[in-house]
Symmetry: C2
């Protein structure tokens, strides 16, 4: 094979003349990361993300020192690789393994956090940027309208880029079993936030930024269109996979066919969404939910074990790879050389933006929580201050989506020569690195500090730790109590059906959905008689 | 995401402006192939390979008709994709799932078939080509030495390309449980043959073709060097994975880490071999054997199920994809347009080469079998005629390795304008298509015809169908009879230890290996007390 790789690269005269070198390097590094991450798991501060980031930084340093900064192409972040290969398994696995009940019970508040929260954060970051720039460089007012317009697009794009949170770090610390509700809130918000910020970013590139009622309407319309169609596509592909596997009884002949079909159709939903210019993230997420709800129940026992662990493993590898990659990319010398001339500006921009991220996130989380608490009268349904702080903290980290969007906006296939763009890129990378390393290291102690007293107090209202957080948030009730295990202290407050629909819309929808699911959907698409999420077996 | 893909391709101005289109198309087609292949499984003639080939041809026809032959870039075979992504999972899984005992007991004869047989086939194809060309174009003798040399290199390369067999088609029909020995012979020969022909191809590009004793020595030396070093690398990486997982007890924390580490280290062995200019195929094959022998026993129960099925699924997807790909590539118009002017030459060359393939394969299989039968006195150890025919047939198909090597030699990143090269490419594709479709369709009936009487007759010598073929070939005895289940009629002929080493070297090596394995290797690298191959569980 060596013959082929060498001769091919010689033939093509590509700049990356040694693909196999970088592949070997990355595979070896990810393996090493996994082993080191395992060894460091017991420590108080480290987690897999920070380990991978640190590993990436160290490797990049070694490469730069040994090659005098020549082979910096290996270090370059490739957004195509990120969006086509690395992101889909992570999001699909998220949908596949999420506790569906908690997720849908909190659907409204998750969307409030994910959509409204992201928009608030985006608005604050963008507006403050505008204000700051106008105040400091008021001469800009006299430049021509064309430049002003592009400048606005750049700043708004940066606002969208910095609104894309990365909750992986916090999710690694939160335990889905111990704090199912907080987990599903942080996690659900993370997924919706990714989709929102990408859609927002997309919209900014298309529309003019002169905000008129017309553009707002247009934006809202395209936003809703994308959200609903992406979701529907994911559900449709998921149902199709369930139907095919149920009708053809693949398991009779071959486990491999079933597993292959599930993997391929999951990926198909993602690339189809891309093809139709929809949000692949939302599509593959809902495809994962449908597959775990229907398809997964139609396959053989060994296929179930295999799919569950295969999806988790692929997601795990992708996550580790991404952090490693971001770490390595951070030391790509090219862009740092450009901003070297103005270190003061660079530091000022980065720290201002970091401050804006903190403030924007605080504004969005606390205001949405305040709204949610206003709508709930009973003190037991309110989001406590410590929960708010945890949710705020979970969204402080900025990750690979930010880096990928920044590269998309401010570089031409990974390269840039313009100082302004270089500053945008280096600021984004600085924020990603700083937030992940500094905030990431603090996450484990902070989350423990925040959640420990809460767990103790919650034992008063519910004897089961798995439903410990249920009373803390709105819609924490499951009215289909025969399918649930919520403490009796709550389910006795059962109002009439009509009152229910008005006061607890999500729970009611959930109740009728279960009825519909059992009567119509499961006979067609399969699925067990009782709720048995993938997390239950062999774990 | 759509934003990114579009803008990236616009930025790069790449010829393949729509990667997501072709990805979607391929994922959808592979899914469809799997479903159709499942539905056609019961039929007498079709198998998965032929289904995928036919699907590829149909799709290519539709694409060409709907786009007037414009988007032919989608159809182009990408050798990088083949060697870096598609081949490794197939070969690794082969090593992982092979019945190790049968494989190693027949190690010598497998290598005879794989190495000597391939060299005989290569020699016949090349020499007849030389003779034919000299006879028909004797003017060539008067052209300058330089052109003559390149012409020799081309013809020898074609000889090597057409010596790479594709046994997938036959293996899909043969049953590892019913005919373990024939399976391991056909299968083992396939792997060794792949490696041999690639090494041969590689060597031809490097050496001059003027055959002197010196070049023969050099060639033999580099051949042995490659074989031994590749094998050792595979074993080393496999043992490393076993040691790491055993020492760190990954299962305690996470199944996903174990599975991820196994996948990554398997792939690492392949890319490392490429990096060191070794044969990745041999390396990853032996890595698979070592992993299934040691590493697989150190992981948790759910990891075992997962790895077994994940590797099989990845291999299955890759195989289907390759056949689909070869089918689609066959209708790439560019190269057919060049040879359109001389249809007579094209047909003559293709059918001559096809004839040579048949004769070369026959010569190699029957002569090696004859040699093997000469060395064995007892009639029960001889390879029967029907077995010889089955082995001959199994190696008639030419597959993706041939196509990939042909592209590597005769095109520049998939394109060619020279008529001579175009004829080489189209002939290779014609042979691949013809052999797979025509011979492939006949494989199921032929193998059944050949094996049915044999299975009945073999029941006389052995009551167990799983060892039915053991007496038919040399070294079919397992002297470590406490570990085996060979019929008593054979194992009573037990000679003394020294006689054993001379007459039955493989069995003796196997016996001492088992002793060493149990005493030294297993305490360090893990592994069950008794033989328990991955095939045993949950199937």
């Amino acid at each position: 094979m060596s013959l082929k790789l060498d001769s091919v690269s010689t033939l093509l005269n590509e700049p990356d003349a040694a693909p196999v070198h970088s592949v070997t390097l990355f595979v070896a590094l990810v393996s090493a990361c996994i082993v080191i991450g395992h060894l460091l798991q017991k420590t108080r501060w480290m987690n897999q993300s920070v380990t991978a980031l640190a590993f990436g930084l160290c490797t990049a340093t070694v490469i730069i020192l040994t090659t005098n900064g020549k082979i910096s192409d290996i270090l370059l972040f490739d957004e195509d690789l990120f969006f086509i290969c690395l992101l889909p398994p992570i999001i699909f696995n998220a949908g596949f393994q999420v506790k569906k009940k908690q997720f849908f019970q909190n659907f409204i508040i998750i969307n409030l956090f994910g959509v409204v929260g992201t928009l608030i954060s985006f608005g604050i970051i963008s507006i403050v940027q505008f204000a700051w720039c106008f105040a400091h460089t008021y001469k800009m007012l006299y430049v021509n309208a064309y430049r002003l317009f592009w400048w606005q697009v750049d700043l708004s794009s940066l606002g969208a880029i910095l609104s894309a949170t990365d909750t992986v770090c916090t999710l690694q610390v939160l335990n889905q079993e111990d704090t199912p509700l907080l987990y599903s809130l942080v996690f659900g918000e993370g997924v919706v936030n990714d989709a929102t910020s990408i859609v927002l970013f997309n919209a900014i590139q298309k529309f003019s930024v002169h905000v008129t009622p017309d553009t707002v309407m247009q934006f809202t319309g395209s936003f809703l269109y994308l959200f609903s169609l992406s979701t529907l596509l994911g559900i449709a592909v998921g149902l199709m996979s369930a139907y095919i596997i149920r009708k053809l009884y693949f398991g009779r002949h071959s486990t491999d066919r079933e597993v292959a079909l599930m993997i391929l159709m999951a990926y198909l939903s993602y690339v189809m969404a891309d093809l139709f210019q929809l949000s692949g993230i939302l599509t593959v997420f809902f495809c994962g939910i449908v597959m775990s709800h229907y398809t997964w129940h139609n396959i053989t026992e060994s296929s179930r074990v295999t799919t569950k662990h295969t999806f988790a493993t692929l997601s795990f590898i992708s996550e580790t790879f991404i952090f490693l990659y971001v770490g390595m990319d951070a030391l790509d010398m090219e862009k740092w050389k450009i901003v070297k001339g103005s270190p003061g500006t660079s530091v000022a921009v980065s720290s201002t933006l970091l401050g804006l991220v903190l403030v924007g996130r605080a504004a969005s989380v606390f205001s949405v929580s305040f709204l949610s608490n206003l709508a709930n009268d009973s003190p037991i349904d309110k989001i406590g201050f410590k929960q708010q702080v945890t949710i705020w903290w979970a969204g402080l980290m900025r990750g690979a989506v930010s880096v990928a969007l920044a590269y998309n906006k401010f570089t031409s296939s990974g390269h840039t020569q313009r100082p302004k763009n270089a500053i945008m890129i280096t600021s984004t990378i600085t924020i990603v690195l700083f937030s992940n390393v500094v905030f990431g290291l603090l996450t484990k102690p902070l989350v423990r500090l925040m959640l420990q007293p809460r767990e103790e107090s919650s034992e008063i209202s519910s004897p089961k730790s798995s439903s410990a957080l249920l009373p803390l948030l709105a819609n924490g009730q499951d009215l289909a109590s025969e399918l649930d295990s919520v403490g009796g202290g709550i389910s006795i407050r059962r109002p009439s059906s009509l009152t229910m629909l008005i006061t607890k819309p999500t729970s009611t929808v959930h109740y009728y959905w279960r009825k519909f699911d059992n009567a119509v959907m499961r006979p067609i698409f399969g699925g067990g008689g009782e709720e048995s999420p993938p997390n239950d077996i062999l774990h």
